[in-house]
């Protein structure tokens, strides 16, 4: 039995009115990747914040390397050897890679830090110029740099909070390689993610929390995905993996016809037709042109070539407003940046698009707004005490539902969902998929963009595969077990496989 590097016993944290953690035990061994799981609000973050000194525990003990510790601040925790990499990258984009790694350290001679940084990045299998500003590199590289910065401080525990949510498949593999190296060096890694596949790919053990209580700690081979989800959600989720799209009526009228759409530097030559009630999935790596295509149809970016027609009529979409008036709706990929209006209430967020459609001089009355908000809060089972809560205070899944409600309220004919299930917990994910499929049944056409191939294959009638800003292939459902490898093949090799 390997030794525990960290033992947290009977941790209790009381927030005003809520018990955030109730007698939670958590043990981390040296040289393991330990997944910390649970729905939003289960207490994962609170536990991590307790360990890193942001929140202070009301009861319980923390033993680190056999000694009892009480971290008082994040810096204090780092000094003790507990490093954290958060979902949001908190580095300085205008400093060089090397400076970012060494900022705040004793070492400041440019030559030395550059050499050291270079060496460090090599260890991460990254051959990059460390003297260039961080902002020159992709999100994935930035994520690696922030891990490098954390690891460089002689830490014994590394906490990774949703590190993969903005990475594509290759980048995730890169990160996993680094994690394996660190593990081999004897570091204990706490890994928090919503991606179930990744848990099974990298973790050794997992601890599941629910509503502030410990559900249990298991070896990775002890339970399968379905059992895991059931334990996290607390109810039987047998039917999550059993949702499939309805067949499309072959005689259904045409909804969308994009003819050789293109914009320089983004995508070129995109042709796509969709029928009423059809669900088309977009697969492809990040930056393959999935989002750009959606933005062109919605008018967020103007296409420079090609034609677009909706419901058989040619339309000239100059700005999102034109698309909305034509019956198109768009849930953007970056919910925080492009979706929610954080300080406004749920009610205001829901009515925003409907109101924009009407113009501000024709306001919805307060009663109409309340009715609209209450209707969707109920229909989408948004977890909130009332419609006046700020949307910024909701969990990711509920925020996503509010954005979905905003667009459902406009009664669109074509709904584009860009990564609607990213970064939200498994229960909310299932609900969003269910809503999507229900809308298709009601005659709404849906474009569904997702990095998770499994859900794209399961929910779509048809799949468009994007690669390097071009349409690389199109697969017609129903799909079978080979579809995934076929898609991956097209993504990897390109060319129209049909």
């Amino acid at each position: 039995m390997p030794e525990n590097i960290l033992e947290m016993r009977g941790i209790e944290i009381q927030f005003p009115g809520v018990k955030a953690l109730d007698k939670v035990d958590f043990f981390l061994r040296a040289g393991e990747v330990h997944a910390l799981l649970g729905e939003n609000g289960a207490g994962k973050s609170t536990l991590i914040k307790c360990l890193t000194g942001v929140n202070h525990k009301d009861a319980g003990t923390i033993l680190f390397d056999g000694k009892e510790i009480t971290p008082t601040s994040p810096q204090n925790a780092i000094d003790m050897g507990i490093s954290t990499v958060f979902q949001e990258i908190n580095l300085c984009p205008n400093l060089t890679v090397a400076e970012n790694i060494f900022v705040g350290r004793k070492e400041f001679k440019r030559k030395i830090i550059n050499a050291k940084a270079k060496e460090l990045m090599k260890r991460f299998h990254l051959d990059i110029d460390v003297t260039r500003p961080l902002s020159n590199y992709s999100t994935a590289v930035q994520q690696m740099v922030s891990i490098a910065r954390a690891v460089n401080i002689d830490s014994k525990i590394l906490i990774l909070d949703e590190p993969t949510s903005s990475l594509d498949e290759n980048e995730v593999q890169l990160l996993f390689n680094v994690m394996r190296d660190l593990k081999a060096e004897g570091m204990g890694i706490i890994f928090i993610t919503h991606f179930l596949d990744q848990i099974y790919a990298i973790s050794d053990r997992m601890t599941i929390l629910r509503n502030g209580h410990l559900v249990g700690t298991y070896n990775i081979d002890e339970i399968n995905k379905l059992q895991l989800v059931t334990l996290m959600v607390g109810k039987d989720m047998e039917n999550i993996f059993d949702m499939h799209p309805a067949d499309v009526d072959p005689d259904a009228p045409q909804m969308l016809n994009a003819d050789h759409l293109g914009a320089p530097g983004a995508v070129s030559d995109i042709s796509l037709t969709m029928k009423k009630g059809e669900l088309v999935g977009f697969a492809g790596l990040l930056g393959s042109g999935r989002t750009e295509t959606a933005e062109m149809i919605f008018g967020a970016n103007r296409p420079t070539s090609g034609k677009l027609s909706l419901k058989g009529k040619q339309v000239d979409v100059k700005k999102p407003f034109d698309a909305i008036m034509a019956g198109v709706a768009f849930c953007p990929e970056d919910r925080k940046r492009d979706g929610i209006v954080g300080d406004l209430s749920i009610r205001e967020n829901i009515m925003l698009a409907v109101q924009a459609k009407r113009g501000f001089l024709h306001p919805l009355s307060r009663a109409e707004q309340n009715e609209l908000a209450d209707k969707y809060i109920k229909a989408l089972s948004i977890a909130t005490p009332d419609a006046e809560k700020k949307i910024g205070e909701l969990s990711g899944g509920n925020q996503q539902k509010v954005i979905l409600a905003r667009w459902m309220a406009t009664q669109p004919d074509l709904l584009i969902l860009d990564e609607p299930t990213r970064g939200i917990d498994v229960g909310a994910k299932a609900e969003i998929q269910r809503l999507m499929l229900e809308m298709c049944k009601d005659g709404v056409s849906v474009i569904f963009i997702s990095s998770e191939l499994e859900e794209v294959i399961r929910c779509s009638n048809r799949i468009v595969i994007m690669r390097d800003g071009k349409k690389a292939g199109e697969l017609e459902g129903p799909f079978d077990g080979d579809t995934q490898s076929r898609i991956l093949q097209i993504i990897a090799e390109g060319g129209d496989a049909q």
């Binding site: 953007p332 940046r337 979706g339 209006v341 300080d343 698009a353 924009a356 501000f360 919805l364």
Partner: protein, 520 residues
């Protein structure tokens, strides 16, 4: 537990106000009896000098007589005829003297009337005894105490109502507007303790207007409150408008130019009660020009994506120059009486600027909150990208907000130039942009944009004016006024800063918890 506590405060406050109004009535009655006898009204200052500041009866009597005579002479200087009562009194005296067998002049001249007033010793005939003066004095002081005290109690009642309506006390303590109101109340309490006369309100029948420091505060804050309505929304969009002060100057310059500018007619070379162009143009042209200048700001910010500070800096710097060009560098003055009404007239017994402010504020609030415009402004201010993707045309929203702010600055400019009956391109609206921004910030709207509060801005604007009035009233030398104002505002801003508010909220929360524990 004590949910009805506010009722006690409200009733008590209203009762005090009622007593204050009673004393107000008594003072008015005394004044009326003076005015009825001589049909002359004192200015408020000379009335206060005679009845409040003089020590013994002899001085009061001498000063009163002198004041009556002075007012009579003053009225003689102008076109105002001596009143009938005086003439009648004079004729009666003449008649009595004639009856006594002395030589009777044919008619009463004004010199005679003045002489008669001086002879008749107005103090003895009108006031009679010193005890009356003393009771007037007491009434004067008590009115201040009662009106001030009543006002404060009513404010406390409002605070209690707010508290009972919104159960989350911590949230109230965290709200900036709470601290703004508390600051205002504290300043007024200090006034009430040091000199209750601060709250004195009096009535001037000659121009049918109420006078007093409280009225003056609201009156003088009109310009900043009006501009603040627009500035609040500019700040909610995440920007600032530095050009408002300059637009005030432009507005005044245009108005005066239209009233006075006609080089061909020699009659219009000196100021008088006339206007060269129709009055409606005098009002509309400045407002329209300011609206367009605001729209220019809006285009720079919305279409060309300039930073608002930089974009509005252009007009801030050039606006006063434009005003100089409009008037050829001249400072016009006018005596046109309809124009005087805007800044110095009275309406519903209140100074006109107060009424204008109420109308403007109501109109802006209706526009912002009864349409979806306010929500759109907040949405664009919080998250421009999400707003665009929701179909909101942020360029139009920005354009409207800046154009509206320009228009409101135009209104302020008319009020300001009507107060001085002149244009003053160098000093009109000076520092208005900073005062307006300060009002908005004190009112709780964050400089980083987002949710905004128009009511908060009104409170902020009134606080700033209260400080200035307070400082003047207590005789701080004009040189140190700015320093004093800065000091008080610094204290308010510190009270409103996030750490302090959170600390207070935590304390009150902890106290509530302890109380709750005891109750169990």
């Amino acid at each position: 537990m004590k949910k009805k506590a506010y009722l006690i405060f409200l009733v008590l406050g209203l009762a005090l106000l009622a007593v204050g109004v009673f004393f107000f009535g008594r003072i008015c009655a005394v004044k009326d009896s003076i005015y009825a006898n001589y049909s002359l009204s004192f200015s408020d200052a000379s009335f206060e000098k005679v009845f409040i500041n003089d020590n013994d009866e002899a001085t009061v009597a001498a000063d009163f007589d002198a004041a009556v005579l002075q007012t009579a002479i003053n009225s003689d200087d102008t076109t105002v005829e001596l009143s009938e009562q005086v003439v009648e009194a004079a004729e009666a005296t003449e008649a009595a003297e004639t009856a006594a067998g002395e030589a009777a002049p044919e008619e009463v001249t004004q010199e005679d009337a003045l002489e008669i007033i001086a002879d008749s010793a107005p103090y003895d005939t009108v006031i009679g005894s010193f005890s009356r003066v003393q009771s007037l004095r007491t009434a004067w002081k008590l009115q201040g105490i009662f009106i001030g005290g009543g006002l404060l109690l009513c404010l406390v009642a409002v605070a209690l109502v707010l508290r009972s309506r919104n159960l989350d006390f911590a949230a109230i303590m965290r709200s900036k507007i709470t601290w703004a109101v508390i600051a205002e109340i504290l300043i007024l309490i200090v006034c009430l303790i040091i000199r209750p006369e601060f709250f004195h309100i009096s009535y001037q029948p000659s121009n049918r207007m109420l006078y007093g420091n409280l009225i003056d505060i609201v009156n003088r804050s009109a310009e900043i409150t009006i501009i603040g309505m627009g500035m609040t929304m500019v700040i909610a969009l995440g920007g600032t408008d530095l050009s408002v002060g300059a637009l005030v100057a432009v507005s005044g310059a245009l108005a005066l130019k239209l009233m006075r500018w006609d080089p061909t007619n020699p009659l219009y070379q000196t100021p008088g009660d006339y206007t060269v162009y129709p009055f409606i143009l005098v009002l509309l042209v400045p407002l329209l020009v300011c609206l367009l200048m605001g729209a220019f700001n809006g285009v720079l910010v919305g279409q060309l994506k300039l930073q608002p500070i930089i974009a509005t800096l252009i007009l801030m710097v050039s606006g006063r120059g434009i005003a100089q060009i409009i008037t050829n560098g001249k400072q016009y003055t006018t005596m046109y009486s309809p124009f005087r009404v805007i800044g110095q007239g009275s309406c519903l017994f209140l100074p006109t600027p107060i009424v204008i402010t109420v109308v403007v504020v109501a109109a802006v609030m209706l526009f912002v909150r009864k349409t979806a415009f306010g929500t759109f402004v907040e949405s664009v201010g919080i998250n421009p990208s999400a707003s665009r993707l929701s179909g909101i045309n942020s360029k139009v929203v920005i354009l409207i907000v800046f154009a509206l702010t320009g228009f409101l600055a135009g209104i302020s400019g008319l009020i300001y130039s009507s107060r001085i009956m002149s244009n003053d391109s160098n000093n009109a609206g000076i520092n208005y942009e900073t005062d307006a921004i300060l009002s908005v910030v004190i009112g709780g709207t964050s400089m980083s944009g987002g949710k905004f509060s128009l009511t908060g801005t009104i409170v902020g604007s009134i606080i700033i004016r209260t400080i200035i009035t307070f400082v003047y009233y207590f005789g701080v030398s004009p040189d140190s006024t700015m320093a004093f104002k800065a000091l008080i505002i610094a204290v308010i801003i510190v009270l409103q800063s996030e750490p302090v508010r959170n600390w207070m909220a935590k304390r009150s929360q902890a106290r509530a918890m302890v109380k709750g524990g005891v109750a169990k």
